[in-house]
């Protein structure tokens, strides 16, 4: 039978804090402080902050965004501003001339990333965006928003690899369909040519 | 002589302030100041023990008791002004002036008053010995009285018919 002497609980408490005091110097799992800004705590793959645009190889030509403005319409606080690029005839070039996101308005909901049909806008994980320029510093344009697909892969490997696999499968299907169509067209052309030759032979 | 000349007017001023001040807490603090100055007077007279004990007991306990009772019995922070009536001034003067006159007369013209020489001081060892050997009955009677007072106060403070319960016991 353990005789609990009154007052010993006090000493047990002191032992707990004493153990903390001594072991926090050399045990890594006790000292969980991250010395910001020299070190940074790792962010989880589900962390989302502000949006960014994905480009495949070239920041201008490989930009996936076609300026369809779906994200602009779906954004709840209306923080996206898109201007479509048109050529001299007024035909749309399927590229944004101006793509501005005001991150002081953005509420990090991720709806723009959910509704984009072209896999071009995803949520970034960068949080060190503070600036001393109160009026323009928080308005991000195309140059600051475009980031490469490799960056996307590094940031969210699961999501990015799923997107890339889907895009590759789509492209292969499209290529296969195009090849099938081309083969069919070639077969049609050859059949037509054979039919014409037959017709010519007959006449 | 010089300490007395400097301190006595200050003590009188503080005492007058203690009864003249409009708000009760100010009056209590002026009372604490009076008692502290009296303690300084004792120290200047060379009665060190009594001076320090006066400080510890009067300023540290009695004044605290007075302000504490003021705090407890005041509702909110109403700035209570004590009204002064001219008639009470006359009554006060009628009461105090004869007493002061009698004191002054006996101090100046009294024949049984001996002034204690300035350098004769009671050391603390002698004080302790006298207190507990020749004046021991008085000290013991005081102790019994104080204990009775404390027990009486504790009994008064209890609500009748209830034993104090420990709230943590529930």
């Amino acid at each position: 039978m353990k005789i609990k002497l009154p007052g010993l609980g006090l000493l047990e408490g002191l032992a707990v804090t004493g153990k903390n005091m001594v072991q926090s110097f050399y045990k890594k799992e006790r000292m969980t402080t991250v010395q910001y800004p020299e070190e940074r705590a790792p962010i989880s793959p589900n962390f989302r902050n502000f949006p960014f645009l994905v480009y495949d190889k070239d920041p201008q030509a490989g930009l996936r965004c076609t300026a369809c403005s779906i994200c602009e319409k779906e954004c709840p606080p209306q923080c996206i501003y898109i201007v479509l690029e048109r050529d001299e005839n007024g035909k749309s070039l399927k590229r944004p001339k101006v793509f501005d996101i005001d991150i002081s308005v953005c509420m990090n909901c991720g709806i723009c990333a959910e509704v984009c049909p072209f896999d071009s806008i995803y949520m970034d994980g960068e949080y060190e965006m503070s600036t001393d320029d109160r009026f323009g510093g928080l308005l991000l344009g195309l140059d600051r928003l475009s980031k490469s697909a490799e960056y996307h892969m590094k940031l969210r490997p699961e999501q990015a690899s799923e997107v890339m696999a889907r895009r590759k499968a789509d492209e292969e299907k499209k290529a296969a369909a195009a090849a099938a169509k081309a083969a069919k067209a070639k077969a049609d052309a050859e059949a037509k040519k054979a039919a014409e030759q037959e017709k010519g032979g007959e006449a | 002589m010089i300490p007395l000349l400097i301190l006595a007017p200050l003590i009188l001023l503080a005492a007058i302030g203690a009864v003249w001040m409009a708000r009760p807490v100010h009056a209590a603090l002026m009372l604490a100041l009076t008692l502290a100055l009296v303690a300084v007077l004792y120290l200047a007279l060379g009665a060190e023990f009594i001076g320090l004990v006066q400080f510890a007991v009067y300023v540290g306990a009695v004044a605290v008791l007075i302000v504490f009772s003021l705090l407890i019995t005041r509702r909110g922070d109403e700035a209570e002004e004590i009204e002064r009536r001219p008639k009470s001034l006359i009554t006060g003067l009628l009461c105090t002036v004869p007493v002061l006159a009698v004191l002054a007369y006996s101090a100046i013209f009294g024949s049984n008053i001996k002034l204690i020489p300035w350098e004769a001081k009671l050391t603390i060892a002698e004080l302790g010995e006298t207190l507990f050997s020749s004046h021991a009955p008085a000290v013991l009677a005081l102790a019994v009285l104080l204990t009775a007072v404390m027990i009486g106060a504790a009994l008064f403070a209890r609500e009748p018919g209830k034993t104090p319960e420990d709230p943590a016991e529930k």
């Binding site: 009154p6 007052g7 006090l10 408490g13 002191l14 707990v16 804090t17 004493g18 903390n20 005091m21 926090s24 110097f25 006790r30 000292m31 969980t32 402080t33 010395q35 | 807490v25 603090l29 604490a32 060379g46 060190e48 023990f49 320090l52 004990v53 400080f55 510890a56 300023v59 540290g60 306990a61 004044a63 605290v64 302000v67 504490f68 705090l71 407890i72 922070d77 050391t123 603390i124 060892a125 002698e126 420990d166 709230p167 943590a168 016991e169």
Partner: protein
């Protein structure tokens, strides 16, 4: 051991048994033991002499220039006071940093380490912050009392620091009645806490002040009663003499400090707990706990006045820890024989550092005590136990202060303590709570 002037007067006493009945030295002296009486001084450049160096230097320089004697004495006292204030203000600054870092380590985190190497400039940063803050005085506050209160909290703490013996014959103001002086200025703190609370003119400070005063008054009683045992056994109220009487070693290596006596163990523990309560430290910091009452009586203070409150509290803590070291831990006496070459102020400040570290450790560990638990503890538990140490000290003295006294006195102290502890434990034991609505 160096011959102090107290030693010369004790020449007639054969052994330490008769020490208490030996007349304390030279009772017909003036109020303040004159500086000239401390004639057996260490040499000018020894490390022992270091605390007194500024004072002696100034006195020597002034006497060289033909300044009259009374002015030299006053200047010497001023320099001594200035030294004490300078040392303890820097100790306060260092303590605020060490407290934060120790509490942080106890909570598995690093304390402030950005302001300078290991955060050593953090107190400077805090000071600059406090100085540059806006001084807000509430509209309903009493202006004069609001200003006076922080000053009246710092002044008693600094006054109390002046009577503690920091080294052999280095007490800034060696008073014959040092202990009574200490407790007298300690009582002044209570009145200034009330002033701070009432002059702020709002509810939180008044409530905080009421609680603070009731706590300080309740815990002052066991504090003084446990010090009474020391006074009884030492036969004097002067702190340098009390430290002198704790010299020597028993059984060869156990120092004869007051805490190594059967009654002193318990009286020292009581004094320690009451000193935590007097200084308003956790676990007794209800008057100033942030989650309870914002900042209690200091709520309406900002800027440097708040820094003065902070300073007063920490200086009071240092003073009462110094008193604990003086009364029970043997002051500047060395812990082991043969360590006489180490300057005595080193032992004093080392013991003080250990005591302060224990305060920090306790702060990091224990939860806050509620006001009714606090009062109950003081009046029902501490005062009877403190009163019990008085006859225990007497019996210890009259049974010869040796092994027999230990055998007689230790059960006398231990049995009531265990009984009270068991009773309190049983009364306050937590039973499983049943909830009215949550269990359904």
């Amino acid at each position: 051991m160096k011959k102090t002037f107290l030693d010369r007067h004790r020449a007639g006493c054969p052994d330490h048994v008769a020490r208490a009945s030996c007349p304390p030295p030279n009772q017909n002296q003036a109020f303040i033991l004159p500086l000239a009486a401390a004639t057996a001084e260490p040499s000018l450049f020894s490390p022992e002499f270091l605390p007194r160096l500024p004072q002696r230097l100034v006195e020597m320089i002034l006497t060289n220039f033909g300044v009259p004697d009374w002015l030299v004495t006053i200047a010497g006292f001023l320099v001594a006071a200035g030294t004490v204030v300078a040392v303890f203000l820097s100790a306060f600054a260092l303590l605020s940093l060490i407290e934060r870092k120790t509490l942080a380590r106890a909570q598995n985190r690093i304390g402030p380490n950005r302001a300078g190497w290991f955060g050593i400039l953090q107190p400077v940063a805090d000071g600059i912050k406090m100085l540059t803050k806006e001084d807000i005085v509430p509209a309903k506050a009493e202006k004069f009392l609001h200003l006076l209160a922080p000053i009246l909290i710092v002044v008693p703490a600094i006054l109390a620091l002046g009577v503690i013996p920091y080294g052999r014959e280095w007490t800034p103001v060696p008073l014959e009645l040092g202990l009574v002086f200490f407790f007298a200025v300690g009582s002044l703190t209570e009145l200034s806490v009330f002033m701070a609370g009432w002059a702020s003119g709002s509810k939180f400070p008044m409530l905080g002040a009421m609680r603070a005063i009731s706590q300080m008054v309740s815990y002052e009683l066991p504090l003084i009663i446990s010090a009474l045992g020391v006074i009884m056994v030492s036969g004097t109220l002067s702190l340098p003499h009390i430290v002198d009487l704790q010299g020597g070693f028993q059984l060869g290596f156990i120092p004869s400090w007051n805490i190594f006596t059967p009654w002193g163990l318990f009286a020292g523990l009581l004094f320690y707990i009451c000193s935590i309560a007097e200084a308003n430290r956790c676990p007794f910091d209800l008057p100033e706990g942030e989650s309870e009452i914002v900042a209690g009586h200091m709520t309406e203070y900002s800027g440097f006045k708040y820094a003065l409150f902070f300073m007063g509290e920490y200086l009071g803590l240092l003073a009462i820890a110094g008193l604990f070291v003086t009364l029970f831990l043997g002051g500047w006496q060395a812990p082991l024989p043969g360590l006489g070459f180490v300057p005595t102020w080193f032992w004093f400040f080392g013991k003080l550092a250990l005591v302060i570290f224990s305060y920090l450790w306790i702060r990091a560990t224990y939860p806050r005590v509620r006001i009714d638990q606090l009062m109950r503890f003081a009046w029902l538990c501490m005062i009877p136990m403190a009163l019990l140490t008085l006859p225990a000290a007497g019996i210890w003295h009259f049974t010869g202060r040796g092994l027999l006294s230990w055998v007689v006195v230790l059960p006398l102290m231990l049995v009531p303590w265990v009984i009270v502890a068991v009773i309190f434990n049983r009364r306050l034991a937590t039973t499983t709570r049943t909830y009215r609505f949550a269990d359904t």
